[in-house]
Symmetry: C2
């Protein structure tokens, strides 16, 4: 059951389906040639397969522990992380000015996918750091940038995000952590934060926390929040870690999965911190940080889906029942594997398209690309993570009784990936974002994407009619659902938000499969897989979109008493 990073799949996707060339044609990303990409992917695949994947089970069996106030990580994690950072995989998109490679998000996405499939727990550490680097690049003072970015980019230090408090989960505006200004311009931070991934550990020499907090006299709710950088060790002027700051992990969560990733309750007892971005601009900075992290979490789901699919296919090919043929001979086993593989392809193409839009927006400043990136982010996050959860579950099912036994390693995929539908904004929140903020343009960004889907389907009509016609029809149904939503008051959209998002993803996934069919031909591996998706999975859009015209109506009639046991 050795994981092998999907290098050639990315090669294909970036060449033929979501072209990297478009990005490489901009001045900003002129270095990201196919040759560079190929070399990068090859190295990242090697590291993921050979160095990181062997750590996966150790993270589960020997969880990170909090001892004497510090977190000790799982066996091998520190070495694995070091190898990862030494090769520069920690933050390849970061600004070259501070030691980064300045490569596009498309390549980051591919590398994150490979690493997540190898060992999700460990990969979460650099993912958190990537978000912090981006927030600092955008909002921090030059002084902070100069002091922190080189260390974060090299991976000598890691980063965290501190948003949640016990009384404030998805509702960030309810947070209470305080920040008081000192005479030297720094702040004193006091409060408790929960669910801090990689909040403390022994893999790097410093841990830097981005903490949302409230200054004295700040307005209630989200408008009164500012963002602060609060390091575990206060950097000396030469950039090396100095005095211990007054913050600490007070406990680690006992979680369903992701045992190798320490999830800490962090206590700030008058810790020294520095403002990042404008005063009261915390939510804006947080959204910058979270937006790409959302894509990153969607990619985590896809990486796990890949690993689960590989493991299940391996088992189905080698597990022989009663001296007869392997269980892959059973149509239902093939059905499960095909769903896993087809959804992984669809989710990966969507994530890459989101990354491409982020890159194009950054390189060109074009508002259409910005809108495309904003539109695709909640879809990439939700569909990527749902695909991870579903593929892991099907992978357990393919294994039968062996799947329920931990030694096989496939139950771990299911337990680990479960949180991806929850953190960085639950998938319900993503869907509300999609039908809310992402439709404030009256559906313009969506219409543009739907037009592209239909134009492509029309362009390949003829020889591919059998597969292009269902994609075109489904896209029309998506358009109608979108128009129905656009005419509903905001509050009435939310009851259909998740079904709409899932239906949208189904159609979008079909579009990329159709591109693959058009590219490789119906009688190719990708052609057959695409046909499976279009014939078997795309029809789900009907039941998703059927819920859109209902809006919240039927839900609004259901009281708590109705939902209780009668």
């Amino acid at each position: 059951m050795a994981y092998s990073a999907p290098q050639s799949e990315f090669q294909f996707l970036m060449t033929s389906i979501v072209p990297l060339d478009l990005v490489a044609q901009t001045a900003r990303f002129a270095d990201a040639t196919q040759a560079t990409a190929q070399a990068m992917l090859s190295e990242a695949a090697r590291l993921s397969t050979e160095v990181i994947a062997p750590l996966q089970r150790a993270g589960d069996m020997h969880p990170a522990v909090l001892e004497n106030g510090v977190v000790r990580t799982s066996p091998g994690f520190a070495e694995g992380y070091r190898a990862l950072a030494d090769w520069g995989w920690n933050a390849i998109a970061a600004d070259p000015e501070h030691g980064g490679m300045g490569l596009p998000m498309m390549l980051t996405t591919a590398v994150n996918d490979m690493l997540a499939g190898a060992c999700l727990s460990l990969q979460l550490a650099p993912l958190m750091t990537q978000g912090q680097i981006e927030a600092l690049e955008t909002y921090a003072s030059d002084e902070i940038k100069a002091l922190y970015l080189p260390k974060l980019i090299s991976g000598e230090w890691t980063g965290t995000m501190n948003l949640t408090e016990p009384q404030a989960g998805s509702d960030v505006g309810a947070l209470r952590t305080k920040a008081d200004l000192l005479e030297d311009g720094s702040y004193v931070i006091s409060g408790q934060k929960i669910y801090i991934s990689w909040g403390d550990h022994d893999m790097a020499e410093n841990v830097c926390h981005l903490v949302l907090a409230r200054t004295p006299g700040a307005p209630d709710g989200t408008k009164g929040i500012s963002l602060f950088l609060v390091p575990k060790f206060l950097p000396k002027e030469d950039g090396t870690p100095g005095a211990r700051n007054d913050l600490r992990p007070v406990s680690l969560e006992h979680k369903m999965g992701l045992h190798g990733s320490p999830t800490a309750v962090m206590e700030y007892s008058g810790a020294k911190g520095w403002l990042v971005g404008d005063p009261l601009g915390g939510m804006k900075a947080m959204f910058t940080m979270m937006n790409n992290a959302r894509l990153g979490v969607g990619v985590q789901g896809i990486g796990v889906a890949e690993a689960a699919t590989q493991a299940a296919l391996d088992y189905a090919q080698t597990r022989v029942q009663g001296g007869k043929s392997p269980i892959l001979g059973h149509a239902d086993v093939r059905r499960m594997l095909a769903e896993m593989r087809a959804d992984t392809f669809a989710a990966r193409a969507i994530a890459l398209a989101c990354a491409q839009a982020i890159d194009m927006a950054q390189a060109t400043g074009d508002s259409n690309w910005k809108a495309r990136a904003a539109l695709l982010t909640p879809i990439a996050k939700s569909f990527g993570t749902e695909t991870g959860i579903r593929a892991a579950e099907l992978g357990v099912q393919v294994h039968g009784g062996m799947g329920f036994v931990e030694e096989t390693g496939v139950a771990q995929f299911s337990r680990d990936v479960r949180v991806t539908a929850i953190y960085e904004g639950t998938n319900g929140i993503q869907a509300m974002d999609l039908v809310g903020r992402k439709m404030l343009d009256g559906g313009e960004a969506m219409t543009s994407l739907i037009d592209e889907i239909e134009a492509h389907a029309e362009a390949v009509h003829g020889t591919l009619n059998e597969v292009s016609e269902p994609v075109w029809q489904a896209s029309e149904t998506l358009r109608e659902a979108m128009e129905t939503l656009a005419h509903l008051p905001m509050a009435d959209r939310f009851g259909a938000a998740v079904p709409f998002l899932m239906g949208f993803a189904r159609v979008l996934g079909a579009h990329y499969h159709l591109r693959a069919i058009a590219n490789e031909g119906v009688e190719s591996a990708r052609g057959r897989l695409g046909r499976f998706y279009i014939e078997r999975l795309l029809p789900q859009h009907v039941s998703y979109f059927a819920q859109v015209s209902l809006g919240s109506d039927v839900l609004d009639t259901l009281s708590a008493a109705d939902l209780a046991t009668q």
Copy 2:
């Protein structure tokens, strides 16, 4: 998050939706009046809620362990089991001749549901015993019956099923365990069995194993298998446990969930056993034993769905975000809870209908009832367990980050219930059974059920048109799908087996919801829930049945290489 057994829900179901009266009108079950049922359910609910439910977390946190050759169970399990057995809940359907109450399977189903929702790990022990009692009642000699049944029925002894071997999972015919005849008519059993639920423990004074094994010279495959009763302690003539038999648990599985239920590898090293049923009649006896166990496993899923729904509703009502209203105010949270509740109702009604058919078949010998029971069993098993898995997953999602943390207890529902889709025949095997063996009558039993669904929908047309029409239409689509399948060669049906089963369950669930609406009115709690199901969940049948006309075609074109990472 205290679990409360759904007594009034069963009362409603057995009065108005799947009437117990039909069963009580037979001579065999004349004692099963509504008054008796009410008294029984009330007591079972009390035991489940007050005595068994408090054991749920202990089973997870302190798994059963194998020490010095014997299994020590989780804290409190022995006392909980004793209370359960003392009240007679172990086997209320068993024959009064040996101490049972002779009550219908409908009541067993209700009691099992309540106990499973309270503590799935513990409830699995009596469920295994129930299967053994039924097999012995049907196939064992009078001597064995007299010696074993009173002990199993009283719960002083428990039973297990020993089918699986390392090389023989779903393909039972590949098993190698040997049984050699001795002069006294008993047998010597040698071999290794895996995945033996409650294979050993300290809750009862004896553990009795029903073991599938092969006699010398027996034909290959399933035709060469016989069934043997092999107790841990050989009973003395007075019925008390005597000499230790030569069998032992050699290891326990480290599982994803269900930690309180010891899953043993059992070693038989020349253990003494007795034939049950005809020589070479092992498969037939096994199917008797497994058939009701399949319903029982479906009911396990439903019990967990109930518990997960209660916990999630409780959280959604009490979790306040930012000093505002509870999260139940969010339409998407209500959507998740409504799906959990509506599917639990549907799955429960289907399970009860299956139990009713089993009871009627037993009481009347009518072949139509037998066919109905046979038809509903794979649907009840698969849909009940899928509902449990889905509800547990949604329950985690409703809890957000808290759901991923084990202390909340809802992650345990998800981990525990996962195996129910696998054991007693995977859900894929259930679906193959449905489109295979259960359609050997050319679809007659299915047609009869579809006719009933449509007749009811027609009967309530008029005032209920808005909800009855979609049910009627969906039923017609089911009929068409069934006819399409019936005309396909057997081998071509299997690629659509699972989608067909799930679509069938969706339609059947809608039928029971429509009955509830008709009974209680559209403006009742059950009326609103039924409308939710019919509007939001029933449309899924379209995408399920869309796959039926494809058969295995698209799957047959997919090779192992196609399914690998490209």
